[in-house]
Point group: C2
Chain length 497, copies 2
Amino acid sequence: MDAYLQLEKQFKKLASYHHLTAICGWDQATMMPDGGNDARANAMSDLAVLCHETLVAPEVGEWINAIDEHIDTLTDEQKINVREIKRQWAHATVLPSDLVEAKSQAGSKCEHQWRKQRQNNDWEGFATNLKSVVTLSREEAKKRAAHTGLTPYNAMLDLYEPGMTTEKIDALFADLKSWLPALTQQIIEKQKTVALISPEGPFSTEKQANLGQQLMSLLDFDFNHGRLDVSVHPFCGGVPEDVRITTRYDEEDFTSAIMGVIHETGHARYEQGLPKHLSGLPSAEARSMGIHESQSLFFEMQIARSPEFVAHIAKMAAETFERQADPAFSLANMNTLYKRVQPGYIRVDADEVTYPAHIILRYEIERGLIEGTIEVDDIPALWNQKMQEYLGIDTEGNFTNGCMQDIHWTDGSFGYFPSYTLGAMYAAQFMHAMRKDVDVDACIRNLDIKPISAWLEKNIWSKGSTLSTEELVIQATGEPLNPEYFKQHLISRYLNS
Amino acid sequence: MDAYLQLEKQFKKLASYHHLTAICGWDQATMMPDGGNDARANAMSDLAVLCHETLVAPEVGEWINAIDEHIDTLTDEQKINVREIKRQWAHATVLPSDLVEAKSQAGSKCEHQWRKQRQNNDWEGFATNLKSVVTLSREEAKKRAAHTGLTPYNAMLDLYEPGMTTEKIDALFADLKSWLPALTQQIIEKQKTVALISPEGPFSTEKQANLGQQLMSLLDFDFNHGRLDVSVHPFCGGVPEDVRITTRYDEEDFTSAIMGVIHETGHARYEQGLPKHLSGLPSAEARSMGIHESQSLFFEMQIARSPEFVAHIAKMAAETFERQADPAFSLANMNTLYKRVQPGYIRVDADEVTYPAHIILRYEIERGLIEGTIEVDDIPALWNQKMQEYLGIDTEGNFTNGCMQDIHWTDGSFGYFPSYTLGAMYAAQFMHAMRKDVDVDACIRNLDIKPISAWLEKNIWSKGSTLSTEELVIQATGEPLNPEYFKQHLISRYLNS
């Protein structure tokens, strides 16, 4: 029992250090003047070392070993904490420190130079750095595989989506690939005859921020435990007690900032709803990247892009920008706008119908990179071939908006991409299950979000990391992840309405 | 040499932790929603423990001991670092940890309850807590005295104003007391016949902030290394590379927020001007509380309240608030306003003529509290007697605006108060010396602040903590602190103009 209490104390201290990391990281992205960057980077780097040292301290290993002898004296909640502590500790200790150091340096260099190289469409320069990152990531994956008994790529997946495997993803993505291309074509065909009027700016930043905050309030974001600010790349940061979300404003187009705010509000409500009585312990943390994304996509795709909610957005936007007479702000037009499906180069700009193609492509390539069946030099041709096949788009010679568009691979975050599409599928399945208990459409129509929140809080947020992802999904919906609900959601929204 | 490099490394790590403390502390006061406070307080407390552990780690003591053997191999700059490292280390290690813990707890309790007790004029309740703080502070002072060979109160002074002693302060304050009361009466008499028109609000927060930023720019605040925000209690925080100053706005009165911004700009420019090549080392830190205050008061009292600068404020304020025709914004009236002398209850609201009386009173009482010649129960009567004597103000029974108005004693910061008036005297002496090299009035008239900044940067800012306070003042002005310059400044501004 002593060893357990020591572990709790150590992990609560670690949570404090993560708190400081989150707030100073948020400040760096939102408030800090440029000239403060070197000193901040230095302070954050010392803090990262401290976090790592706190997690891998020799006594942590001793406590973990000691605990197995009296595991039966622990409560169920404590046993779950031990499970998650072991998971985090294993992830942190399994790699030799020279490999951690080498990957961190190669990743920093690759990411830093990528920012310029992407602008210059400089694939050759980027490929040189990426090769080092891939070499070290392969080594990392092998070490993780040896420790966990998983395959190398599954061991990487486990960092972001514990329990997820290529076997499961292959089945899910094969299913998607069997119907999504044809469905996409049908939707595009159907939308061809529908005219869209783009709202014309300028839309002041102040009014956009005001509209964003109104929508956050409607969605029960707790402003006593969080805030909205501006950053170049939108994110959800901070800590559960003080969640910091950001967006960016384009004075010519308010529609994307507003939907971005709603997306981050979904992430934020998950964080705000994590179990408070476990605060600071690993079991109180968000379950996985896929479940996190399921909550942002639940708010964005399942709630906010529904015709019932778009009606509110249209009305509030027209009032905020004083455009009540502007046909671009009509309910019909706003619905057309927020439902528009169009294959494009850029993942982060994709609609929910074409988004999975971007992910499947990345999954197939990054898995090959880690397993050694694909080399860095193969990427551009494979990218072009798959973009042609999945979305009918030619990316030959266009590295900037092709295989160099994402940050993930630059620092070796292989295994992350599938989370996005898993999140979309989880979200659709949660909505299907929720509809059995809650009259969702009526709730949205009447702006009565409480029953929706209550369902999510009970089934997802309050569970933290106490269940495995699969247990969480089965307890919430009665079955494991099933892509059928995502399919039905797309058909119902884009073909049958 | 090894021991020295180890110490440098340790203190740079400590500087990183102080960086995190500064930014998260700033966030807590300016950005954090209320609901985030418990988690933040917890994270900050873990960080404070970490800072302390980093400073008092056993190896630090070993390196310090080892260094004396090869001190001759170090450069002069390194020797200075060693001197300051030893000073910080001694301050942190001289107290037994149970005393540190007890004082921290008594101080937190006293400060926390004081916020309510002050509102309720509850002296009895406050006195109970303050007695514990005084008892522990006496013990602290004795331990520090035994270690340094100073008297107990001098050992406390040394925390805030290294090298300052009661002998020196007694002489300085005796001088002040010999002429200031009569001068104050003369000034009040003189000002009786001068009418003052108070500018009438509302003055929007946005416009006040805009005016504040214009004035910061005029005073060469570097916005690439700092920013201005809002907090309940104005302060200068952050780090030299990223200085965060704050103010508070009253929509009925812009004059005090604006002057507050200029005051904090003085603190900020000192921080921004500290020696960059020593960044992260103790010798790069600000010299003392008194020197810090001398810079804020230099900007506020010596520059900004001069008639030459008030002319700019009057014009810019009239433009910003569109009051060009308002007689309250005339140069003559703004000068009258910013020169008004009036004895009052509250230290932080006092003008520069009556301010020293507030400090002398506190110094005399707190010194007696530490030396054991005054008890907590004596404070209210002494406060009333000295307020009557120095400022002609009756505080009997008025604890809220009397002896309970300040936060300093609540957590046992005895020895801090003299810094304010030392700062005012340093500032006047620096101005006197600067005038030998710089045509200050012409610079201010022409808004050419560069020569003034250059003098301060060369003589004060770039010195960091490389000199003792006395060496700094002698090198900058040719003599030790001399209250005559403060006297001449007051006579010249308030009687002879």
